[in-house]
Structures are given as C-alpha cells and as structure tokens.
C-alpha cells in the first residue's frame, strides 16, 4: 500500500476484478497464489484464459495451480523479484516496447529509473533469479506487445524486507507499459482478509485517520479534534510489529486486541509468547479461546459475521452489506457494541468539547456509525447503508450521495498528479541459505484453511480434507533425505523448530520448502523472523533459511524449542 501511495498517490487496487476478467488481454500474476487465496477471483482468471485466450504469465518460486493455465512460468528464486522485474523492463526498453506517449504525458522520474534498469541485462538477471534468459525475453515480449495487461500480486510481493520496493517496481512496470487508468490493466494488490481494505480505510493504521488522512497533518488533526472534542496525538503510532517488542522495551503496558491472534499470525512465535506474557494487561475480544487467549486477562465474547449487520470493503474497494442472520450465542455481543460500552466507561468523568459533533458514543446501530464515517472520511462520504440496501454497487472514492463510485482509479490523471518512477535496486533477502540452514522456507496459507486457523480448524468437513500441517518439499530433496510416503520432517530455523508430515510435491523447487501457519502444533511462524520492510513494517515471511531432517513416522505433531 505504501508503495502504490508513493508512486500514484493512492494505495489500493486500481481496477475491478470483473473488469480485469473481462478486459485484460494479458495478465501478470506475481507473488499471488490466487486460486487458493482468492479462489473465486482465481476461477475468474482461469475462465479468462480458457474462454478468452488471455495470455497469463505467472512469476512464483512455487509451481502453484495457476501455472497450469499460464503460457509462461517464471520460477524466480525467493526474494529476487526486483532483479526479475528490472530484467524484464530492460528488455522492454531495449526493444522499444515502452509506451513513450504515456511516459511523457503522465509520469516523472523516468530517466533516473531507466539508468538503474539498464544495469540489469538479462544474463545478470538470469544469474540472480534463476530464470532462463530465453524466458525473460518471452515474458517481456508478451508484456510489451499484448495490451492491456493487468498485474496482480499479494503477500508474495509484500512480505519481504524490500516489499515496498517490489511494489514500486510493479508500479514502474505498469507505467512503462502505459497500462494505468485503463480497463483491463492496472496495479492490483489482492487484499487478504475479508475486510483488511476496510480496516485500513477506516483508520486501523498508526499513521492515518479514516480515509488515509495523515495524523501528522495539522489540518487533518484539527478536523478530528473538532469532530471528537479532544486533543489528538500529533505523532505516528506503533505498528503491530513494533508494539509486540515494545512490551519488552517498557513502551507498551496494555493491549486491547479485537479478533486477532498474534500467537499464530505474527513472526517468530517464541518471541511473541515472551512479549504477551510480560504485558501488564491484555484485553482480548474474540469468538473462540484462541492461542492468544492464554495470555489474556479479560476475554470478551464477540460475534461472527453471521451475527451482525454492517459493511465490509473488498479488495477492489467495493463496500457491501453484511446482514445479521442469527443471534450471537449466549451473552456474546456484536463487537461494535462492546467497543462502544468500553469507551463510555473510560470516558466517564472526562470533559469533551461540548460542541464537538462526534464526541459522543451513543450509537443504536452500525447505521449510526456509518453516518459518522460519511461525515469524516471523504472517500466514504456517499456510501450509506440506505444506498447499499437499495442495491447500489459502490466502490470508493464515493465522495457524496450522488456519486456513483469509482471502479477504476487514476483514469486520465494519477491521484498525485504525475505518476512517479522510482529507480529500484536488487537487495538480497535478510536470511540466505547457509551450510547449516541450506533450505529456503516460504510460508502462506492453503485453500482449505484461513490464517491462524481458529475458524477452519473448527469446520469439520474442512478438517477431513486438510486436517494437519503439511510441509511441501521437492521430490529431489525428499529422495536425498530419504523421505517417502507418510514420513514426518523436522524443519528448523535459527529461531525454532516444527515437526509435521511431508508432502513430497513438485509444487516447490529443489532447495525450497513451504509451510503454513494454520496449526498451532506446527506453525511456520515458530521459524520466521521479525525482520521488517523499513517502510511498510511487514515481516519477511517469504524467505527463512531452514534445515530439514527426517524424523520417522511418529503420529501427532509436536513442537520443540531450539
């Protein structure tokens, strides 16, 4: 997000999924296992390939399912995306396939960018990435000659120490090709969680108020101080990846966590355990006694999506209604009610500016809350429950009640005016394989499970299909290690060790293993490290150096410390 905001002035998916499926002539999917992580969009890509003959290029260290539908698979080594993209752009420039008109009219910073790219000739890039020169030329030719091309990515691009640069380089690619602001093109980061877009949009970030109004901007701060009736902090707050270590540093004393499970989802689990054990007070609002609940001091029962009414915003900025179907069980309550009641108690006896229109916490429904959002978040200004209930399909920005919403961003003009090219240099991952830790481990989710697994591990049928953690390993490596059917492996990094059943598969190349974090007994995050992208503060989940040992055929996963 930070990357796109820097290049274009707005950090979100630029095009809509239906637009891409209907209008793209080429697609470039890099660092997104779309058919497993965004399965329905994955099927839309498959349909476009089969029914419209779209040329699909997949760049992924793994042979993911989508590769079956691709004309070309660029199997780069993990953590070499910048070199790969620079190499492709070198060829595009060498062959004169860049969109000169677009570059001249709508961008800046091209010359400095070009100078950097020209230091990445195909031979050098092939050496860094492991992608054959011939395939680089084939990919560049498709990109350079088939328009429009849509680029899609996900955490495979961002979960690196150079995640922000990766994103900037994808923005470079699409500006170079003139694929911005057109149907079937664009830069399209696929957002993971159902409402991660909404959580970002509505101020769930340490640097911005709702609708990305910066907390460091005096104008924005004055606006919210006037609305809420209190003085506000003028400095950027801590990210989740800073708060956790902040506990041990004495900076963070209390945590209020809503529906998150840091023990499963944060890097280097052992470190997170230590942090949460030390915090003075942990208030957790959850639907299940999650792994994190063991560390909580108070546990408040929240509601699932089926038990409340309101809105989610999907990956393409589309705001949609969620409708209550059943009552929450027992005394569980919708989460907005809980936060509201807690706020009221904390504000007892405090004096708020009497003329502040939104100082109060008196809400009778989420509809009331949305009215406050309409007033304070400009891009959500016209998105009301009433319009959504009437069947209107709204994508932000939608500044007022009469605005029809914005399916494609940056048409004719970027949010920041001119799109900005950034010269990006290849930087190797923080942790590279060594003699002691010769494998690269990448992490992620699988089709059947969701994140820390609190929900899907409690779904019976799903557990019948995918009931335990599996470590993907290449047949060549498996043979060398003496692995065959039904064997378990121990995977060890500098931080921890897990044991799980091996899945011998060509989905991963030799020298690489893939693990998930759905099962507490064998969570990949025991092994990952909290080394962060300096701008986005995203951990490098996709590259961890590990060793792999065979541990026989024991049943039942166990966890052990180094």
């Amino acid at each position: 997000m930070a990357g796109l905001a820097t290049a274009f002035g707005s950090g979100a998916m630029t095009n809509s999924m239906d637009d891409i499926a209907a209008n793209a002539q080429a697609m470039f999917v890099i660092g997104s296992n779309t058919t497993e992580q965004h399965p329905v969009f994955g099927t839309m890509i498959r349909r476009a390939v089969r029914q419209r003959g779209v040329k699909l290029i997949v760049a992924d260290p793994r042979r993911i399912d989508l590769v079956d539908f691709a004309v070309l698979h660029l199997q780069q080594k993990p953590g070499t995306d910048i070199a790969l993209l620079n190499g492709l752009m070198y060829i595009i420039l060498e062959k004169g396939w860049e969109d000169k008109e677009f570059i001249a009219a709508r961008t800046e910073g091209f010359e400095a960018f070009k100078e950097t790219v020209m230091r990445y000739p195909p031979e050098k890039v092939s050496e860094i990435t492991g992608v054959p020169v011939e395939k680089l030329y084939q990919a560049a030719e498709i990109m350079g000659t088939v328009k429009p091309m849509a680029v899609m990515w996900a955490m495979g691009i961002t979960q690196h120490i150079i995640g922000t640069q990766n994103v900037l380089n994808l923005a470079n690619l699409q500006m170079l090709l003139g694929n911005m602001g057109v149907p079937g093109g664009g830069t399209n980061p696929l957002r993971g969680q159902n409402n991660v877009q909404g959580a970002c949009d509505l101020g769930g970030l340490p640097n911005v108020y709702p609708a990305y109004q910066k907390v460091t901007s005096e104008e924005a701060r004055k606006k919210f101080e006037a609305a809420w009736g209190v003085p506000l902090a003028p400095h950027v707050g801590m990210t989740v990846t800073e708060m956790m270590p902040g506990i041990l540093e004495g900076k963070i004393h209390a945590l209020y966590i809503l529906g998150e499970d840091p023990i499963m989802s944060d890097p280097h689990t052992e470190h997170i355990r230590e942090c949460l054990e030390q915090v003075d007070f942990l208030l957790l609002q959850e639907i299940f006694p999650s792994e994190t609940s063991h560390y909580a001091d108070i546990l408040l029962p929240g509601a699932t999506f089926a038990e409340k009414t309101g809105t989610f915003t999907n990956t393409e900025r589309r705001v949609q209604m969620v409708h209550q179907a059943i009552e929450p069980p027992g005394e569980a309550r919708p989460d907005w009610w809980i936060t509201m009641e807690l706020a009221k108690r904390l504000l007892e006896g405090r004096v708020l500016a009497p003329d502040a229109p939104y100082a109060s916490w008196e809400y009778s429904s989420t509809r009331d809350i949305m009215k406050e959002i309409n007033a304070l978040a400009p891009s959500y200004g016209g998105i009301t429950h009433e319009r959504l209930e009437a069947g209107e399909r709204l994508q932000w920005p939608c500044p007022d009640e009469n605005h029809p919403g914005t399916p494609i961003l940056h048409v004719g003009k970027f949010a920041r005016g001119l799109g900005k090219f950034h010269p990006i240099e290849h930087i190797p991952p923080a942790e590279e394989p060594t003699d002691d830790y010769p494998f690269v481990m990448s992490t992620g989710r699988v089709l059947y499970h969701w994140h820390g697994g609190e929900m899907t591990r409690r779904a019976k049928g799903i557990m019948q299909v995918y009931g335990q953690a599996l470590i993907e390993i290449n047949p060549e490596d498996a043979e060398r290690l003496g692995l065959d059917g039904g064997k378990r492996v121990r995977v060890t990094s500098r931080r921890g060790s897990i044991e799980a059943e091996a899945w011998v598969t060509e989905r991963v190349p030799p020298g690489m293993v893939y693990a998930n974090f759905h099962f507490p007994d064998a969570s990949a995050n025991e092994l990952t490290q909290a080394v962060l992208d300096p701008v986005a503060k995203i951990p490098e989940y996709k590259v961890t150096a590990v060793k792999v040992e065979v541990v026989g055929e024991t049943a039942g996963a166990t966890r052990s410390k180094v």
Partner: protein
C-alpha cells in the same frame, strides 16, 4: 432486427438470439432443465422443445436461433405432449423419493412434473441403480440415482470453476456422470467449491452438511458478504430455528455470481462450534482487586488467581476500563496498544480507531494487514 411470429404474435428479434431468449424477453415461459443462463446451452434434455412451422422435428428452444419469418408455437399440443413424454422417461429412472429428498421444494424436475402433471410411469425402473451417497467428499452428497443427465454439473465445473472434475461415461441406458475416470471427486482434483451442487436441478448433488436440516420452504435466507478472503463474495445464509444450516449461491451477487469457494460455501460450521465464547470472562485476580501476579505462563493453569471466572458484562467492562485507564494514567496514552480486526465490520474498525485516538489518545492502532 428480424421479424418472427411467436404464439401467433408478430414480434421483433435480434439476429443470433435463440428462441428461448426471445421468448423470455417477451414474458413467455418455455420450461427448461439442462439450460442455465450462466452455462453453454447443450440442448440435450429436450424439455424446451417447441414447434417451428416447416421444421421436420420439434426444436430445442435453448439452442435454436431465430430466423426472419420464423413461426413458433411454444405450447402446441405436440410440444406439450413431447415434454410430458420426456418427463415420463426421466421419472422412470428417478426414484420417487420426494418425501425424504433434500431438494424437494427446490427441485426443477419436481416442479415440471407438477406443472405437467406427470407421474412416475407404472413401467418405471424400480430400486436404485447406484449407491446412495456414493462419494466420500465431506461436503458434496452424490446420489446418481436422482441424476437426469442434464450435464449442468459437468459444465459448471468446466466453465465456472474451470476444474473439469465431472464428465460423462458410457452411453445409452448405462450413461452416467463420473468424477475423473470414475474415481472419487477429491482424487479427480475436486476443490470442493460446490458449484456443481449449486447448478444441479435435482437432488443428485446436494450439500452433505445441510442434508436433512431443512427444505426450501422451511428456510429463511439472509443475503450477506463472506467473512473469509478479500474477494467479497456474497451468498445467502440459510437459517432455520435460529441456526445456520447452510450457504446457498445468490445469483445476484455482484462479484461472484453463483460461484463460491470451499471455505465460503462449506466453512461455516465454526459459527455453532461448542468452543464459542458465550460469556465475558475475567481472571480471578482482577475480581479480587489484586495486581497481576508474576506467574510464568506454564504455572498459570495451576494458580487460583489465574483462573477464568465467568462474569456479567458490567463487571467485565468495568474492570477492562479500569485497567486500560490505569495504564493510560500511569504510563501515558502511548503505553496502550490497540489491534483492530480485518475480520470485523467497517463500522467496528472505525470505532476502534476512534477508541484509540479519542478515548485513549494514542495512534498506536494497527491490524494484521502486514501479516
């Protein structure tokens, strides 16, 4: 534009339109079974046959394009008789299990038998030809006895999911829909999306998790947005007696249409899992007004002060406010961290942002976007 005569009425049609499309545009209902607007028409069930003047045979309306001067009778005696005969042949190979069938009330074959008043013929095949519930897939219940060979499942898998699990094996009376080369669905690389179930017009493919829990007229449908990934699929939650009993495709869903994935369609049973938290709980030490004991995690389960105590909302919220307030007082607003949730509503995220910034006075708010 071309001109045709439909049931005696002169109307305009566009070149390339099928008879079915023109009829539907003019409010004339030609019955269909194998046809579905999302799938390629195949014309194999013969329910939509109509009489076209000058044609030697009845024509399948779903695949026959109109031509200038075409004269069509959609409900001529001959067409209706043919539909009845076709239905009769289908019912001869279809167990009359409507009393216990999950699809009753949403079954297109049942509706047509009712509309055309066709009974199972006296000479119809007796007993079952295939094992009932024949596939081990945990989500999809397969009963090929109820299959009418319309091939919608084959097309849904090929054209919507693009996975090609289902196919047609053998010919004639032996003809049957099979997964892969006659293997189980999962072995045929099924992703358990349930698209085939959503498109099946009968009870041949049904949802295992919902089986026996409620039929169309007993179910309340609530349209909502999926809580798993960021695609934002919409679907109908099926509710009976205050419980979710299933998920059904909603054809009007803006992003996904009828398509869903395995988690969206079948990953809902966690909602009623016995592990759900149903009461606020606080540690005993808080109720006793004590400071947090410095007990290492491994010893907490044995410590009485660390015991969870179920309490009422007022007590739990009061204690939570007290302890958060105390941290804020003692160490400043920036000593409090707030993690909001990408699983929760926009409105809830807004409130968490307001809570951190207005109530606590810190910008320490984040969520798992980075993770």
């Amino acid at each position: 534009m071309i001109s045709i005569t439909l049931n005696g009425q002169k109307i305009e049609a566009r070149e390339g339109q099928t008879i079915l499309e023109v009829a539907r545009e003019h409010g004339i209902r030609i019955p269909t079974l194998c046809y579905h607007k999302d799938l390629s028409p195949t014309g194999n069930c013969r329910i939509c046959v109509v009489e076209v003047k000058g044609a030697r045979f009845l024509q399948a309306a779903c695949v026959t394009q109109v031509w200038d001067g075409m004269e069509i009778e959609t409900h001529s005696e001959k067409a209706v008789a043919s539909r009845k005969r076709t239905l009769s042949l289908m019912l001869a190979n279809h167990p009359p299990d409507c009393l216990t069938c999950d699809a009753s009330g949403s079954c297109e074959l049942q509706d047509l038998a009712y509309e055309y008043q066709v009974e199972v013929p006296a000479w119809g095949a007796k007993g079952t030809r295939y094992p009932v519930d024949s596939d081990p897939n945990p989500f999809i219940r397969v009963d090929m006895n109820k299959c009418i060979l319309c091939r919608r499942c084959v097309l849904a898998c090929a054209e919507i999911q693009v996975r090609d699990v289902w196919g047609v094996a053998k010919r004639g009376f032996e003809e049957v829909i099979v997964a892969g080369a006659g293997t189980t669905m999962l072995e045929a690389r099924c992703e358990s999306c349930g698209q085939c179930v959503a498109y099946c017009p009968t009870g041949a493919l049904t949802n295992k998790m919902s089986y026996g829990l409620g039929r169309a007229h007993q179910i309340e449908k609530v349209t909502t947005t999926c809580g798993y990934c960021g695609v934002g699929c919409q679907f109908d939650l099926q509710v009976r007696d205050g419980r979710i009993i299933g998920v059904a495709s909603n054809p009007n869903a803006p992003v996904n249409g009828m398509a869903l994935c395995v988690k969206g369609r079948y990953g809902w049973d966690y909602i009623h899992h016995p592990d759900r938290l149903t009461k606020p709980m606080v540690r005993r030490y808080l109720l006793e007004g004590k400071e947090k004991p410095k007990t290492p995690l491994s010893e907490r389960s044995a410590s009485a002060l660390w015991e969870w105590v179920e309490t009422d909302w007022d007590t739990a919220l009061g204690l939570a406010a007290q302890r958060l307030g105390r941290a804020r007082e003692a160490h400043g607003p920036d000593s409090v961290g707030v993690l909001t949730s990408a699983k929760c509503l926009n409105e809830e995220n807004y409130l968490m942002n307001k809570f951190a910034r207005q109530v606590i006075g810190t910008n320490n708010i984040d969520h798992c976007a980075r993770l």
